[in-house]
């Protein structure tokens, strides 16, 4: 009797004859009815994944596959403006948001009751629905009867600028709205990351005389760096397709000077009625998106941190 058989009988488990390695690999180590059940539970998910992820992505790639679409895109001066705007929106918006979120996460780690209360209020922008929030900002920024300029007049006697009438103020309003809406989420993520840092490390650092900035530089930052990078990459991926802030705050104006790829794509698809052109417009973000995704997957692999 083989050793394997003896061991199986010794622990009261039924003996299962050994299968080839490839078979075991394909079956994930499962045998018989257990494998059947695993398939039964996995198939519905796989079907939904194919229907709602694979198919739409493949259909989108097919819709935007004609080279003539890209010729048409590059002949439209608004497209190049949208590309530049997208780079600014993502570059400034994401980085500023993540830096601020990271710094604020340190503040919100304090144990005072009023800090905890402030955190609840701070998270509200993220919790409220995006559309009414951005539309409210659009109305607040109205140069004539908006809240901001009315307050400036009442409090200081100042006539505020026409916020959405300038390319740079419009871009600034879009980026500020985007940061305001999304920063709370990443702050919470960073708070969770800070909470995972063992207190013993801080105690050891205290004993070595490392406080304040030195503690941050030698303990907090090295341990948070991976999380920060992964979060930034993820936020960049999400922001490349961001539509709500630009569409509902500045509307892409003035004179379409603040359009980004997502809003321009929607305009092509549903205002002009050329969905293929709209898809092609958004797909132009792929050369930037794919390397970021690859880098993100690479960074998601578990790595040790050397303090």
């Amino acid at each position: 009797m083989s050793t394997t058989t003896q061991e199986s009988l010794a622990v009261g488990r039924p003996f299962v004859p050994s299968l080839p390695r490839t078979h075991r690999a394909w079956h994930g180590g499962l045998l018989g009815s257990e494998f059947a059940w695993a398939i039964a539970f996995a198939v519905p998910y796989a079907l939904l994944f194919c229907a709602f992820v694979i198919y739409p992505v493949a259909y989108g790639l097919w819709l935007g596959s004609s080279p003539a679409l890209y010729t048409e895109l590059f002949s439209d001066p608004r497209f190049l403006t949208a590309v530049v705007n997208t780079c600014l929106y993502v570059g400034i918006g994401v980085n500023l948001k993540m830096v601020l979120a990271f710094l604020l996460s340190g503040f919100f780690m304090r144990k005072r009751w009023w800090v905890k209360s402030l955190l609840v209020i701070y998270i509200l922008p993220w919790a409220v629905p995006a559309l009414p929030a951005f539309m409210s900002i659009h109305w607040m920024l109205n140069g004539q009867w908006g809240f901001l300029n009315s307050a400036l007049w009442m409090l200081f006697g100042i006539d505020g600028p026409t916020w959405l009438n300038s390319h740079w103020l419009g871009m600034g309003a879009n980026i500020a709205s985007y940061i305001w809406k999304n920063m709370p989420f990443w702050t919470v993520i960073f708070i969770a990351g800070r909470m995972a840092i063992p207190q013993e490390l801080y105690e050891a650092a205290d004993m070595d005389g490392a406080t304040g900035l030195r503690r941050f530089r030698h303990v907090t930052f090295p341990l948070m760096a991976q999380l920060y990078l992964v979060s930034t990459l993820l936020s960049t991926i999400w922001s490349l397709g961001d539509f709500n802030a630009v569409f509902f705050v500045s509307g892409g104006g003035p004179a379409m000077s603040t359009e980004v790829l997502a809003t321009l794509g929607i305009r092509y698809a549903f205002t002009i009625g050329d969905p293929r052109l709209g898809v092609a417009c958004v797909m132009c973000a792929l050369p930037l998106l794919i390397p970021i995704v690859v880098l993100l997957m690479h960074k998601m692999r578990k790595q040790e941190v050397q303090l």
């Binding site: 004539q144 026409t162 549903f270 969905p275």
Partner: protein, 458 residues
């Protein structure tokens, strides 16, 4: 209690799936006389109620069922574009202003020809309703009716009469030619601001490039007033090569840019979306504007003082040459996507809806925001010209006067020109980028010509 084993659970699941598959033919048969209709949401609840009544009456009369969804304008646009792209289409789309997307659909041969439906009322329909429903099919190389027109609208002037009086002027003193008429309102701004209305402006000029339509309507109004109506002719040709068009375009955008730079227009107007001008008017941000339909007035319908006394609706003044200006008019109604499973029911429903008495009752119940596509109804039914309403008769008289159809009907390329907001972009080029009017017009013309080259008629 029976203990469920994994085998019995698997067997039950398979059985359930099989039952669902086998029962489908019964469900399919039950839908044979049901049409799926996507209906645009009205501005007021009364419009939606009016639509529901038409549906209920039709169902009672015909025995057919209308499975409808009411959705906002932009959402309907998006759904319609998505449906026609994917091929998963409803049986009927009922749209108030389909001219932004309908011409392209017809060009791409994704719509069903509805000539047989239009024929039932063709002799009664206005010429502009017929023209605005007739589109060129790029695959068939022929025109056909692709819209069943039920409603139409024009663009009147909306004025705060109480502000005109407050400024010490009388509307009856307003000149009768286009530029002078607009200039009349400029002089109201200073006296109103001196009386404490710090942020009031004279003109709600929609020099916006955000869209969708206000800036385009404004440009056409100015072009017509400057004596040029042939931007796109009925053969689908763009006439940017006509010196008269260039001259009229330069005059039009020069006037608009000067009004903006002169401080008579809210600075925000460059970025107005579809609701901002209406909101601005209701806030008394400006004294007057030029905007489609009576939605501006009807939004204040329940405030009787405002509706009956303070707000004034005025029709078109004459052109700058003293000649009457035609009103540019589109049409709203139903169109049937190709591939609709129950198109027979959809056609039957539209034949019912286009009957004069049904059309008239529906639009009256919708507070008269839209007028019937059959002009005789407006003459015969006292509702439309009821002198006790201060707004509707003015609006209807503009509709009964000279009209021209929208240019989108002649060539779908004009729809893209409008979607790109080329004309207001040229105004913005003067205001924001310091271009001369000539350079701005030439830039817009070049882009329009490039768009038109995509659509060649056989």
């Amino acid at each position: 209690m029976h203990r469920m084993s994994r085998r019995s659970m698997l067997a039950s699941s398979v059985g359930l799936a099989a039952a669902g598959a086998l029962s489908r033919p019964y469900i399919a048969n039950a839908a044979a006389t049901t049409a799926t209709v996507w209906q645009v949401q009205g501005f007021f609840p009364e419009e939606d109620e009016a639509f529901r009544k038409v549906v209920a009456d039709y169902e009672k009369l015909s025995g057919n069922k209308i499975d409808y969804s009411i959705m906002p304008f932009m959402a309907l646009n998006q759904k319609a574009v998505s449906a026609l792209t994917s091929g998963d289409v409803p049986d009927l789309v009922f749209h108030d202003a389909p001219d932004t997307i309908l011409p392209q659909f017809a060009w791409n041969d994704t719509l069903m020809d509805v000539t047989d439906v239009v024929e039932t009322q063709k002799s009664k329909l206005s010429q502009t309703a017929l023209d605005a429903s007739n589109y060129y099919n790029g695959a068939k190389k022929a025109r056909g009716f692709y819209l069943c027109p039920v409603k139409q609208a024009c663009v009147p002037f909306h004025i705060w009469g109480d502000l005109v009086e407050k400024a010490g002027f009388k509307l009856s003193d307003a000149p009768k030619t286009w530029d002078a008429y607009w200039d009349f309102f400029k002089q109201l701004q200073k006296p109103l601001r001196d009386k404490g209305m710090r942020k009031v402006y004279s003109l709600g000029l929609q020099v916006t490039t955000v869209g969708p339509n206000d800036g385009n309507n404004l440009f056409v109004g100015f072009m017509l007033a400057n004596g040029f109506s042939n931007i796109v002719s009925s053969d689908g040709k763009l006439h940017t090569d006509d010196p008269a068009m260039r001259e009229a375009a330069i005059k039009s955008i020069t006037w608009m840019a000067a009004a903006y730079n002169g401080g008579y227009v809210p600075q925000e107007a460059l970025s107005w979306n579809d609701a901002d001008d209406n909101n601005g008017f209701h806030e008394k941000l400006f004294v007057m504007d030029f905007d489609g339909t009576l939605s501006t007035e009807l939004a204040m319908f329940k405030d009787k003082k405002v509706y009956m006394e303070d707000m004034v609706t005025m029709g078109l003044p004459a052109g700058n040459d003293g000649k009457p200006i035609p009103a540019q008019v589109g049409a709203g109604g139903g169109f049937i996507p190709k591939g609709a499973k129950n198109f027979e029911v959809a056609k039957d429903y539209m034949k019912y809806f286009m009957q004069p008495e049904v059309m008239n009752a529906n639009l009256k119940q919708g507070l008269g925001r839209w007028v019937p596509s059959i002009p005789q109804l407006m003459k015969d039914d006292a509702f439309w010209l009821d002198p006790s309403d201060p707004h509707r008769p003015v609006y209807v008289r503009e509709m009964l006067g000279p009209t021209i159809p929208i240019y989108n009907a002649y060539n779908p390329a004009y729809g893209q020109v409008q979607a790109e907001q080329l004309w207001m972009q040229s105004v913005a080029d003067i205001i924001k980028n310091g271009m001369t009017a000539q350079a701005a017009v030439d830039k817009a013309f070049r882009r329009a010509e490039a768009i038109f080259t995509k659509f060649t008629f056989g």
